[in-house]
């Protein structure tokens, strides 16, 4: 196990370094200069030269990369001149907002998708199964921006029941009872799609397990149907969901980009969107790096957790 972890960590490090090189080069290939874009049309040539010097932009590209990495190893993800804030500060402001959005929507999705998947598996090929299968396909195949716009038109514009945008203001106000209504539509947008996805996995996994030998054995031993389902099948059927959750960890850091943009929800997704639109290189690099690390970590965690919960999986050094 230790050797496995060391190997995986080594691989992960190489992947992260590769990601920093690729994203750094890609952003530098974009047309236009940073200094003029940031300082504006009134900037003098002297101030532009000074800006380039201060930020290492007058160096050769390899040196610019080393400049960036040097800052990184000192815990400095960079500084956004557009937003006039350190990337660390931006992440600490936006990340909790995305955690709230994705956390609540994931919990709701799990709370609905797992029982739904079980019910569909137990009632396979019955009217309930067909109904929810159809609904899942509709929701899962619906583009997020489309679903978001439909929800806004129905619940905000026509019925005037809910605000069309997420909460605004400092994070301390997000869970304020008066602001909760602003969370409903963004959470619903994400949860509906996630329910569709998770319930399909859950149904499939349950069906796979229901025909396994251990289920037949349990039934032969006289375990009740409920006992078979919840004590034996459910635990094994949850393994793909655990993997899915591990793989969705990067989503917390990248944010639900489309959903956040539609609802003007100031999380990581909107931060990334804004940065891409305005070529805010430091933020793009910072967020990309954090997402890369989260992706690697999520995969690693999923692998390890998979081995822990499934005794059939054995990792050898």
């Amino acid at each position: 196990m230790t050797g496995f972890l060391v190997r995986r960590l080594g691989q992960s490090f190489i992947v992260v370094v590769g990601v920093t090189i690729i994203t750094f080069l890609l952003t530098r290939l974009l047309p236009g200069g940073v200094a003029r874009a940031i300082l504006g049309p009134r900037a003098s040539p002297d101030s532009i030269a000074q800006f380039n010097h201060d930020n290492g932009l007058d160096l050769a590209v390899p040196q610019q990369y080393l400049f960036y990495v040097n800052q990184l190893v000192h815990g400095n993800l960079g500084f956004s001149y557009r937003l006039n804030e350190s990337v660390n500060g931006l992440l600490s402001d936006h990340l909790p907002k995305t955690v709230i959005l994705l956390g609540i929507s994931t919990l709701i999705a799990l709370g609905i998708a797992i029982p739904l998947g079980i019910m569909q598996a137990v009632r396979r090929n019955k009217i309930e199964d067909y109904t929810f299968t159809t609904l899942s396909f509709v929701l899962y195949s619906m583009p997020p921006f489309w679903l978001g716009l439909i929800l806004i038109i129905v619940f905000a514009v026509n019925l005037q029941l809910l605000p069309p945008q997420g909460p605004q203001g400092p994070i301390s106000t997000y869970l304020d009872p008066t602001e909760l209504s602003a969370l409903v539509l963004p959470v619903m947008s994400l949860a509906l799609v996630t329910i569709a996805l998770f319930s399909r996995y859950m149904r499939s996994s349950m069906l796979d397990n229901l025909v396994q030998d251990y289920v037949r054995t349990a039934r032969a031993k006289g375990v009740s149907t409920r006992g078979v389902l919840y004590r034996h099948v459910l635990r094994n059927a949850l393994i793909p969901i655990v993997t899915l959750l591990g793989l969705s960890l990067p989503g917390i850091f990248s944010g639900a980009l489309i959903t956040e943009a539609i609802y003007n929800y100031p999380g990581m997704g909107l931060l990334f969107w804004d940065s891409a639109m305005t070529r805010d290189y430091p933020v793009l690099l910072g967020v990309t790096l954090v997402v890369a690390v989260a992706t690697v970590a999520g995969n690693l965690l999923a692998d390890v957790f998979y081995a822990v919960v499934d005794p059939r999986v054995r990792i050898t050094d």
Binding site: S47, Y81, G89, Q165, P170, A261, N264, P266, W273
Partner: protein
């Protein structure tokens, strides 16, 4: 035909104004006290710099007019009743007094107070000036040889009086509107230090230490997320102070109870809401979720269905143009020919673009001084079109100067030389009238306008090769000497703020920092100098009439700055300020 069209537009405009006035008339409504007013920031225009001695790229309407000025008042306030003029009532000092033939200016403070109860004194003016003089390179509005270089000495005879001695005689219009307008007294008794834990002293009086003070304050301004908790920014002299602010641009302000100005806020809170796109903002408008917002141009047809709002176009103090690169290796010689620029200007159908593309919410631009809002700064000549739209006129100019015109194709020079009927110096035989125009992406109206212009230019055989790029790229290319294009339209032109007197010394003078096209004309330079030294507005007329004829750029229509929508329950916002400043201290709600 076009005149009739304009009259119709004018009539519609007057009706809209009348309706807007009715919608904003609360005579039968009871004024409510309190409430939170929300205002929509323009897409991707978030305030992000609080220190009023603004550096680098933070010098923007979003940071100055719509953020800093709410908390930190300039020494002299410009903007009154929807016009651009010195507002003595809102200024911190009495009107400046000139003496010694205009070489000395005296400013006497009114005795208003900071929010901590301390008086605003001449020491606070001196603090600003000392920081500025020691850090001019970091100040976004610095123009060499102008402010503060032109202030050769300062004295502060008492706590309320500041006296500047200037290097020469300046016109009071220029010096008031463009130089003194830049001053914002700073709370020296709180900010004159170099570290967080350091004591407050007279560091600013030592130029080396003044650099450190500036670095400290500029550094403190580089953390938007701490603005509302940093004690520095709690001392203000404006009607508002920060309650909270996030890095995504959400601002909440509450009244400063110690504000000394004539109008105290009556609403309890003023919030600025950030939006990445105008679509997201318009979604909120549909649910009446914001008090003061805007309608995207492409959605203008829906404005009558928004019954909870008053529609009120907001006109800015600006000009709009396409910059042409006189130094371009391929086409610089063509641009240097006045007849070529005249032909181009003849091919800009401003009335047509305003009517068909901007749906009436724009106005023509024929010169370097804004013609709206109405002021005595725009000359009669500039307000008439010296080069009215006409393909025949453009074609004649080209033919008269040795060009073989190929309508729908590319015209070529067939008679090179410097004679009056030849193509002009530097234009070779066979030279093609083919140009590269780069414009800012993201605004549908600008895209349509450029496509229409390409079509109109082709009628006289002037080929325009269009390319679209983000705003940042366009200004980078326009000011960086790029060969990607030889004409640039970044979609915003030039807003005269806080240099309110539209002299153009920053944009059209030889060698001026923002003269990206490299236009150079000694007559214009002389005219521009006269606008800075004369007290007579006729100097400005001479300057603008010359440039309206000489065409340092190609003038195009000015779109209304904001197509504002204001809830009918919100009052006190009208008239809107052409400098795009906000006055939420005037706002109040009524029940319906």
């Amino acid at each position: 035909m076009r005149i009739s069209g304009l009259r119709v537009l004018a009539a519609v405009g007057l009706m809209a104004l009348a309706l807007a006035a009715c919608g904003n008339n609360p005579t039968t409504q009871q004024k409510l006290s309190g409430g939170t007013a929300t205002w929509a920031e323009a897409p991707n225009a978030k305030p992000n710099y609080i220190f009023p001695l603004t550096s680098g790229g933070f010098f923007s309407v979003a940071n100055l007019s719509q953020f800093q000025y709410l908390m930190y008042r300039p020494l002299y306030w410009f903007g009154e009743n929807g016009t651009v003029k010195l507002n003595s009532g809102l200024s911190l000092a009495n009107d400046p007094v000139y003496s010694d033939g205009g070489k000395t200016v005296t400013m006497k403070l009114k005795g208003w107070k900071w929010s901590d109860g301390q008086p605003i004194t001449s020491r606070d003016v001196e603090f600003w000036m000392n920081l500025l003089k020691a850090n001019v390179g970091s100040w976004a509005a610095y123009v060499p040889k102008e402010f503060p270089d032109n202030v050769v000495s300062m004295s502060f005879p008492d706590s309320m009086t500041s006296v500047f001695t200037l290097d020469k005689t300046y016109g009071s219009l220029f010096f008031d509107y463009n130089e003194l307008s830049q001053i914002s007294p700073l709370p020296q008794h709180v900010w004159d230090k170099t570290t967080d834990g350091g004591t407050v002293g007279d560091f600013d009086r030592d130029p080396k230490q003044a650099v450190n003070v500036f670095k400290y304050l500029d550094g403190q301004s580089k953390s938007v997320g701490t603005y509302n908790s940093n004690p520095l920014w709690q001392v203000v002299d404006g009607p508002w102070k920060l309650k909270s602010m996030t890095t995504d641009g959400h601002v909440a302000m509450i009244p400063n109870p110690g504000y000394s100005g004539p109008v105290k806020p009556t609403i309890a809170e003023f919030d600025e809401q950030p939006y990445t796109t105008d679509t997201a903002e318009f979604d909120v408008i549909h649910t009446a979720g914001i008090d003061y917002g805007y309608i995207p141009t492409q959605d203008l047809d829906q404005r009558n269905s928004l019954t909870k709002y008053t529609f009120s176009p907001w006109i800015g103090w600006q000009i709009t143009y396409m910059q042409i690169n006189f130094g371009n290796a391929t086409n610089g010689a063509l641009y240097k020919q006045l007849y070529m620029r005249q032909a181009m200007q003849h091919l800009v159908d401003q009335d047509g673009y305003i009517k068909n593309i901007f749906k009436g919410f724009a106005y023509p631009d024929y010169g370097p001084v804004p013609i709206k809002p109405a002021s005595n700064f725009a000359s009669a000549f500039e307000q008439k079109n010296p080069y009215p739209f006409g393909v025949n006129a453009a074609t004649k100019l080209l033919k008269d100067h040795g060009w073989t015109v190929n309508a729908g194709g590319v015209s070529t020079c067939s008679s090179p030389g410097s004679g009056s009927n030849q193509c002009g110096d530097g234009v070779a035989s066979g030279a093609k009238a083919s140009f590269k125009l780069e414009y800012a992406s993201g605004t549908l109206a600008v895209k349509q306008e450029m496509q229409a212009l390409k079509s109109d230019f082709s009628k006289a055989g002037l080929e325009i090769n269009l390319s679209e790029a983000p705003f940042d790229t366009v200004i980078t290319d326009a000011f960086g000497g790029s060969n990607v294009a030889d004409m640039d339209n970044w979609g915003g032109g030039w807003i005269f703020a806080p240099d309110y007197y539209p002299t153009g010394d920053e944009i059209f003078s030889t060698g001026a920092g923002s003269n990206g096209g490299g236009y150079s004309n000694s007559t214009n330079d002389s005219n521009t100098d006269a606008t800075t030294t004369s007290n007579d507005v006729k100097a400005l007329y001479t300057y603008q009439d010359f440039l309206a004829k000489d065409l340092p750029v190609i003038w195009i229509p000015v779109a209304d700055a904001v197509l504002a929508l204001v809830k009918k329950t919100l009052h006190g916002w009208d008239p809107q300020d052409p400098i795009l400043q906000l006055y939420p201290e005037n706002w109040y709600f009524t029940a319906s």
